[in-house]
Structure formats: structure tokens, C-alpha cells
């Protein structure tokens, strides 16, 4: 196809989009809702997957030390930890050091917590002789003095994952349903366009237009609908996720985890949403054309 023909089809498709007014708005909104849910759902699932693999690989027990514990008291705790069964090494990490890790993960906006504002605790990082022993070591460590909390990351997370698994199944079903609704709405809009322009399409054929030539603008109209529908969800997801990433940073890092870094993660997610949006639109258009644009 020649470039000027492409331009012509693009112009035609926008004309039609405008002419359909509220019908177009309804289709775009359907895509918007679908993609918004799809985006949230994907962000959720991908992060859960990331966290679960991190937790499975984590064989350390993190022992958070009470604030205000003196140096000798810490030394005492360290010896006690070392004497526990199945403990291999015990490493100390100060809260300043912990904050550095946060800053490393989440960027310099956390610098403001430095000094006395630092909300983190000093930590002993205890590694066990074997991964399975983390549970018993954690339980024993919790009973010791000056220990705020000891965790191996697993327990709470694993329960969370059970819930997440159920959520994931429901979300998948719901998203698929929404995809169908969006495709249906777009195909319906384009069907109405085709039917209302039946005479015109007949005339186009009479003056020598091929089917492909007649179809392109409808196909593009569907694709634009999908593309327009992806704008709002992308903006919402980008802002939403960046915000969530920031507010969860401190707490998650104190357990040694983090959400996926927004820049790359959102890029991939946005690209995916655009592709899905355009696909929904194009498929919707194709469905109508197959049924209503026969020779």
C-alpha cells in the first residue's frame, strides 16, 4: 500500500470515529475499564511472583533489635544467637546501613529519614546451616531478650500467597469477561457504522474500491478506539504504582524485599496495555467486518 493511501485511510478512520460520537465514547470507556483492571491485576500478579521467588530463596533470619539497646547488650545477644542450634553465621547491620539499602532500592527520596529520623531498627542477619532450619531458629530467636521481632519472611508471606492465589483466579476470570465485553462494544459500534453506511459502501464498490480498501478505515477506527482507551489506564497505573512503591518501600525493605522497580516495570506494563488495547479494538472491528461487510 502506498503512503498516501495509508494517510487517506487514517483520515477516514478519524472522521468516522468523530461521526460516531457517543458510541465511540462508550467503546473507548469499555476499553478504559478493561485495561485499568488488567493493569492493576498484572501489577499485582507480577509483584506477587517476584516476592514469592525472593522469599523462597531467602534462607536468612532477620532479627530486629529493640531500639535503645546498648552496645554490650547487642554483643550479648549476638553470642546468644550464635549458640543457638543450626546457626551458621550472625552478621550485624546497623539501622544506618539498613537505610542505605532502602535508598539503594528506592532512590534518594528516602534520604530525608537519615539521622534521628531513621525509622528502621538495627538488625542481626542470621544464616542457618540448612534452609529448613530457618523456622526453628526464628522461633528460638523470638524468645531472646532485646529482640523486637525475628522473621524469616516466609510465614506471613506464605499465608498472603494463599489468599493471593484465590484473588488471582478471580481476577483472571473477571478480566477475560471484561475483554469480551470491550470487544463486543467495539464490534457493535463498528457494526452500526457499517450498517448506517451500507449504501455508501455499495457505491464505493461500484466505483472500483476493493474490499481491503473499504475495510482499512473501519479496522483503523477499531484500533484507535483501543489506543484511546489505553491512555487513562496507563496514566492511572503509572501514578498509582509509583505511589504504592514509595509508601511500601520502608516496610518491605525492613524485611529485605522490594516491589518491582517502577521505571522498567511500568514501561513493560504500559506497552502491554497499549498492545492489548489496540488488539481489542482491531478484533472488535474484524468481527463486525466479517459478518457485515460481505460482497
Amino acid at each position: 500500500m502506498r503512503l498516501f493511501t495509508v494517510k487517506r485511510h487514517i483520515k477516514d478512520s478519524f472522521r468516522s470515529l468523530k461521526r460516531n460520537g457517543w458510541m465511540s465514547v462508550a467503546s473507548v470507556s469499555a476499553v478504559t475499564v478493561t485495561l485499568l483492571l488488567l493493569g492493576i491485576f498484572l501489577a499485582l500478579v507480577l509483584n506477587v511472583n517476584k516476592l514469592s521467588s525472593e522469599i523462597e530463596n531467602d534462607v536468612h533470619v532477620r532479627v530486629l533489635i529493640d531500639r535503645g539497646t546498648t552496645k554490650s547488650q547487642k554483643q550479648h545477644l549476638k553470642t546468644e544467637l550464635k549458640e543457638l542450634k543450626d546457626v551458621a553465621t550472625v552478621q550485624y547491620s546497623s539501622k544506618t546501613n539498613e537505610l542505605k539499602k532502602v535508598v539503594g532500592h528506592y532512590g534518594s527520596s528516602f534520604q530525608m529519614f537519615s539521622g534521628d529520623d531513621n525509622p528502621l531498627n538495627d538488625v542481626f542477619i542470621v544464616s542457618t546451616t540448612e534452609p529448613e532450619k530457618t523456622i526453628t531458629v526464628t522461633q528460638q530467636a523470638r524468645k531472646l531478650k532485646y529482640v523486637t521481632i525475628a522473621s524469616y519472611g516466609g510465614t506471613q508471606a506464605k499465608q498472603l500467597f494463599k489468599v493471593m492465589h484465590t484473588i488471582r483466579q478471580w481476577a483472571t476470570g473477571f478480566t477475560i469477561l471484561l475483554l469480551f465485553v470491550a470487544v463486543f462494544l467495539i464490534s457493535n459500534t463498528i457494526r452500526i457504522t457499517i450498517l448506517s453506511r451500507r449504501d455508501e459502501i455499495g457505491i464505493m464498490r461500484l466505483v472500483g474500491a476493493t474490499n481491503a480498501y473499504i475495510r482499512w478505515p473501519f479496522f483503523l477506527e477499531g484500533a484507535w478506539t483501543g489506543l484511546l482507551g489505553s491512555i487513562l489506564p496507563i496514566i492511572a497505573l503509572d501514578f498509582g504504582y509509583s505511589w504504592l512503591y514509595r509508601i511500601t518501600a520502608v516496610q518491605l525493605t525492613s524485611f529485605g524485599y522490594s516491589l518491582a522497580e517502577p521505571r522498567y516495570f511500568l514501561f513493560v506494563l504500559n506497552l502491554l496495555m497499549i498492545i492489548v488495547g489496540v488488539l481489542i479494538g482491531a478484533v472488535g472491528a474484524l468481527i463486525s467486518m466479517r459478518r457485515f461487510l460481505k460482497v
Binding site: I203, V207, G208
Partner: protein, 230 residues
């Protein structure tokens, strides 16, 4: 070259055309005359494959219309310029865009389209109304847009169904001039008409169709149709 061999067309139970045999050479000018309902439009619709014959063979240049696949129909139509009895202009396009559309579908360059469209609009005397929409034009003006569209691609064959139907004698004469000019450049012209005055003033080959059959085929034939058809 156009060839009809034993062509019949049946609508439901009645024959609109019966056993038509006809041969039209390149560069000919042919009138098709006959009373209303005789089958003139049917014959023309067969030419641009709006309808298929019930039986018989139709050939236009390299195309065999009887065997032709649907997807090849557009390429046949690009070799024909058709002026439809009811014009068939695209209501949402302006005069200019209507004429340009017939060129755009053949993927001509925009600059060529612009020049050609303005040329033919000048030729039919509508250059000043190029931005009007069809419903802002008189019947005769719409007819001239349809003619401009039919000749813009410089087709080998121009087919017109009643192109002077709504026109006064003066405008009719201008229109027939356009067709004769096109014909002089080697294009075949096939025109169905009731306009006996025009047929007699500008004689060309004439076939008369009555009740679906060709009853007369004369060079420079005259036509005086019966009073009841007036």
C-alpha cells in the same frame, strides 16, 4: 471489446432480458433506447457486474464476467466509467471528494488526482461548486458530478444510464458534447436514454430494446418512441 452471447436475465419469474446477442467494438458510440421497463438498466447493470446473467456469456476486454470472481470485480469496474441512473454520489463527500474518490481507490498519486479532478470539474462546468455536498446541488448538477466521476480515470468504456434524464435541452446538449469528446479520444460510450430528440440530433449506432429483446440495431438510427412513454 464487449460481447454478449445468448444473455438472459430473470428476476424472480419474469425475464428482464431474453437471449441478448450484442457486440460493441472499441471506440463505438452506442445508444440503447426503448420504453420504460424494457430492460435497458438491466443490460447496463450486467456490464459493470452489479448483477449476473441468469444464462449466457458476457465478455469485456480481458474479463469474462460470467466466470469472474467477486474479488476481481473492482478491477473490471476501474476500466469502466459508469453514470448511474440515480447518480449514486457519496452523500458525505463534496463534489470534489466524490470525483477524487474514484481515483483514490486506484491509488493514484495525490498531485495527479488534484489536477485530473479539477480538469474534469472544469469540463463539466462545476469547478466553482467543488466544495458543495450532493444535497446542495440541483439534479442536473449532481448528474454532472456523476459524469465527472465516470470519466476521471480515463476509462476505456464509459457507460451512462439516462444521463440527460433531468436536464433541459440546453444542458443535455452540453452533456452529449462531453460524451462525444470523450468518444473522439477513443473511449467507447454506451448510453441508455429516452431522449429521442438528442438521439436524432446526434445520431450514432442505436439499439432498441423492447420487452427484454433487441428489436433493432442500426448505424445512425433514429428513434421516435410511442406517445404513451412520454
Amino acid at each position: 471489446m464487449i460481447q454478449f452471447i445468448n444473455v438472459s436475465k430473470k428476476y424472480n419469474r419474469t425475464y428482464a432480458l431474453r437471449e441478448i446477442n450484442l457486440r460493441i467494438e472499441p471506440g463505438e458510440f452506442l445508444y440503447i433506447v426503448g420504453p420504460s421497463g424494457a430492460g435497458k438498466s438491466t443490460l447496463i447493470k450486467l456490464l459493470y457486474r452489479q448483477i449476473r446473467p441468469t444464462s449466457g456469456l458476457i465478455r469485456i476486454n480481458k474479463f469474462n464476467l460470467t466466470k469472474m470472481k467477486n474479488r476481481n470485480v473492482p478491477y473490471l469496474r476501474r476500466e469502466l466509467g459508469v453514470v448511474f441512473q440515480d447518480f449514486k454520489l457519496l452523500p458525505r463527500l463534496t463534489t470534489y471528494e466524490n470525483v477524487a474518490y474514484a481515483m483514490e481507490v486506484t491509488e493514484k498519486r495525490p498531485t495527479i488526482i488534484r489536477n485530473r479532478v479539477m480538469d474534469v470539474l472544469n469540463l463539466v462546468g462545476l469547478a466553482s461548486k467543488s466544495r458543495r455536498f450532493p444535497d446542495e446541488l440541483s439534479g442536473g448538477e449532481q448528474q454532472r458530478v456523476a459524469i465527472a466521476r465516470a470519466i476521471v480515470n480515463r476509462p476505456k468504456i464509459v457507460i451512462a444510464d439516462e444521463p440527460t434524464g433531468n436536464l433541459d435541452p440546453q444542458t443535455s446538449a452540453e452533456i452529449i458534447n462531453i460524451f462525444e469528446n470523450v468518444n473522439r479520444q477513443g473511449t467507447s460510450v454506451i448510453m441508455a436514454t429516452h431522449n429521442s430528440e438528442m438521439v436524432n440530433q446526434r445520431p450514432h449506432r442505436l439499439i432498441e430494446v423492447v420487452q427484454g429483446q433487441i428489436v433493432r440495431d442500426e448505424n445512425k438510427g433514429a428513434y421516435h418512441h410511442a406517445a404513451i412513454y412520454r
